[in-house]
C-alpha cells in the first residue's frame, strides 16, 4: 500500500488544528500567538521549497549535485551552530564545518555501504535523507555541548589553570569540561534511546510505516538511525573541540577571549 497524498485543501484542514493551541495562548495572554503563526507560515513556505528542490534532486539523481547539496547543508548548519552559541565565528566556524562534513561523510557512507550494502551510496533516495538526519542531530547536540564546554571553561577557568599548573597536559586540563559537555548533550539522547518504542513511536519508523514499509523493516531502520546519529554527534563534537582548541588557546595554553560581544 503506497502513501496517501495530502491535498492542499486537506493540508489547510490539518493546519486548522493550530486553532487549539492559539486559543489557549490567547486565553492565558501568552505572547506566542503571532510568533506561532509566523513560524507555521515559514514552516509551510520552507518545506514547500525543500519539497520542490528535493523533487529535482531525486529526478537528476546526480552524485555531484547530491554532494553539493550536502556541502550547502554543512555551511548552513555551521552558520546556525555558531550563531546559536555565544562563541566568535572565527573560533568555531571552521572546526564545526570540518566536523560536520567529515563525520557526515564517514558515518553516512559507512551506513550506506556496509549496512545497507548499496551499490551507489550517492543515490538521492538514501543519500539525501541520511545526510539530512545526521546533520540535524549533529547540529542540536553540538550547540548544547559547545555552549557547555566553552561556558564552563570561561566560568571555571581556575580549575583549568590549577590543573595545568600542577602538571596536567592540555588534554587533562580540559577533560573535566569535555566530560560535562558530553553529559549535558548526550544524557537526553541516552534517555531517549532507553525508552524508544515504549514511551513513543519514533519519527523515522512512523515515516517509513506511513510510506508503506513493513514494521519489521521500519524498526531496523529506526535502530540504525539512532546509532548513526548518536555516533555522528559524538565524532563531530570531538572534531569541533580538537580543531577549535587552535583558536581558543594561545601557544602558552592560556584561554583566549572567544566570546562574541552582544550588542
Amino acid at each position: 500500500m503506497g502513501t496517501i497524498d495530502i491535498s492542499l485543501w486537506s493540508l489547510v484542514i490539518g493546519l486548522l488544528l493550530l486553532a487549539f493551541p492559539i486559543y489557549f495562548f490567547r486565553l492565558y495572554k501568552v505572547k506566542l500567538v503571532v510568533s506561532t503563526l509566523v513560524a507555521a507560515l515559514r514552516m509551510v513556505i520552507q518545506l514547500f521549497f525543500i519539497g520542490l528542490y528535493l523533487k529535482y534532486l531525486f529526478i537528476w539523481n546526480n552524485p555531484w549535485i547530491n554532494l553539493l547539496w550536502v556541502i550547502i547543508m554543512v555551511i548552513v548548519a555551521s552558520f546556525t551552530a555558531t550563531h546559536r552559541t555565544g562563541i566568535k565565528r572565527s573560533v568555531l566556524f571552521i572546526p564545526v564545518s570540518v566536523g560536520f562534513l567529515a563525520t557526515a561523510m564517514v558515518v553516512g557512507l559507512y551506513f550506506l555501504l556496509f549496512v545497507l550494502h548499496l551499490d551507489n551510496p550517492f543515490s538521492a533516495q538514501y543519500f539525501i535523507p541520511i545526510m539530512g538526519i545526521l546533520m540535524g542531530n549533529m547540529l542540536s547536540v553540538n550547540v548544547i555541548a559547545v555552549n557547555t564546554y566553552f561556558g564552563d571553561l570561561q566560568r571555571e577557568h581556575q580549575m583549568y589553570y590549577y590543573l595545568l599548573g600542577n602538571g596536567a597536559t592540555r588534554f587533562e586540563a580540559t577533560a573535566p569540561f569535555v566530560r560535562q559537555a558530553m553529559m549535558k548533550a548526550f544524557s537526553p539522547c541516552v534517555a531517549n534511546m532507553a525508552v524508544m518504542g515504549i514511551v513513543s513511536l519514533p519519527g523515522t519508523m512512523i515515516g517509513q510505516i506511513l510510506g508503506g514499509s513493513a514494521p519489521g523493516i521500519a524498526i531496523k531502520y529506526q535502530m540504525m538511525i539512532i546509532i548513526i546519529t548518536f555516533t555522528a554527534s559524538m565524532l563531530s563534537l570531538m572534531i569541533t573541540i580538537i580543531l577549535s582548541s587552535r583558536y581558543s588557546f594561545d601557544e602558552y595554553g592560556k584561554l583566549r577571549n572567544i566570546m562574541r560581544k552582544h550588542k
Binding site: E156, Q158, M159, Y161, Y162, L163, L164, G165, N166, G167, A168, T169, R170, E172, P176, E251, Y252, G253, K254
Partner: protein, 211 residues
C-alpha cells in the same frame, strides 16, 4: 634554581615590572609582594608559563621557560592559586584530583600520609569525607597546600596562601613551607601579608614598574 633575569612586562598601558631580576635556590622560601595591581600574580603566571614576558627570561636550572617548554616545566611544579574553588562535591574528590594526572602518578595517594600532612596544618581528619561547601576558603587552601607535601615536586608556586587565615594558621603555613624547602623544594609565594613575608628568606617587592 629558579632564575628571573631582566624581566619586563606591560599589560595594556601599565608597566607591571621592568628589568626585574632575582633567583631562588633550592630550599628557599621567597615572597613576592607589592601593592594591588603591581603584577605579583602576573609574575607567578609568567613563571608558570601562562604568558610571555616582553623582555628578559625565566629559567629553571638554566633552561628557559617558553611556549614550547612550559608544559614540560609545569610537570615539576605545584600551584595553589588564591581563593581556590574547585567544582567538586566532596573534599575527598578535591584533594585526590592532582593525583589523577598522568605526570603525578609516580606518587600513589595515601590517606594516612594525607592525614599526617593535614595534622601539620591543623586540619581535622573529619573534613575528608565532608562536602566542599562546608569547608571554609582557608581550610580548602590548606588542604591543597597539604597535597603539595605529598606530591613533593621541585617548585611550589602559591598565590596569597595566608589571605584567608588568622595569624596562628598563617604561621603554620610558613612552617610547612619551610619544611618543604628543607627537603629541597623552591617555594615562591605571592603575598601582601607582612607577617608572612617577614618569615621568608627573600622578599621581592614589585612597585608599579619600579622593582
Amino acid at each position: 634554581m629558579l632564575e628571573i633575569r631582566n624581566a619586563s612586562l606591560k599589560l595594556g598601558d601599565t608597566q607591571l615590572f621592568r628589568d626585574l631580576s632575582f633567583s631562588v635556590d633550592c630550599g628557599q622560601v621567597v615572597c613576592i609582594t607589592g601593592d594591588s595591581g603591581s603584577g605579583k600574580t602576573t609574575m607567578l603566571r609568567a613563571i608558570l608559563g601562562f604568558l610571555p614576558l616582553d623582555d628578559g627570561v625565566i629559567s629553571v636550572d638554566g633552561e628557559i621557560i617558553n611556549s614550547m617548554s612550559a608544559e614540560t616545566f609545569r610537570r615539576r611544579m605545584m600551584y595553589v592559586p588564591q581563593e581556590l574553588s574547585l567544582p567538586f562535591d566532596t573534599v575527598e574528590e578535591m584533594v585526590q584530583l592532582p593525583f589523577t594526572l598522568k605526570n603525578n602518578r609516580y606518587v600513589k595517594f595515601s590517606y594516612e600520609r594525607m592525614m599526617d600532612e593535614w595534622k601539620k596544618l591543623d586540619l581535622d581528619a573529619s573534613f575528608y569525607k565532608s562536602s566542599v561547601a562546608k569547608v571554609s576558603g582557608g581550610q580548602r587552601q590548606r588542604m591543597m597546600i597539604a597535597v603539595c607535601g605529598l606530591l613533593h615536586k621541585p617548585i611550589l608556586l602559591t598565590d596569597e596562601p595566608t589571605s584567608a587565615l588568622d595569624e596562628t594558621h598563617a604561621r603554620l603555613v610558613v612552617r610547612y613551607f619551610r619544611e618543604l624547602a628543607s627537603k629541597g623544594t623552591i617555594v615562591v609565594a605571592v603575598s601582601h601579608d607582612k607577617t608572612f613575608s617577614s618569615l621568608c628568606d627573600k622578599i621581592i617587592c614589585l612597585n608599579n614598574g619600579n622593582n
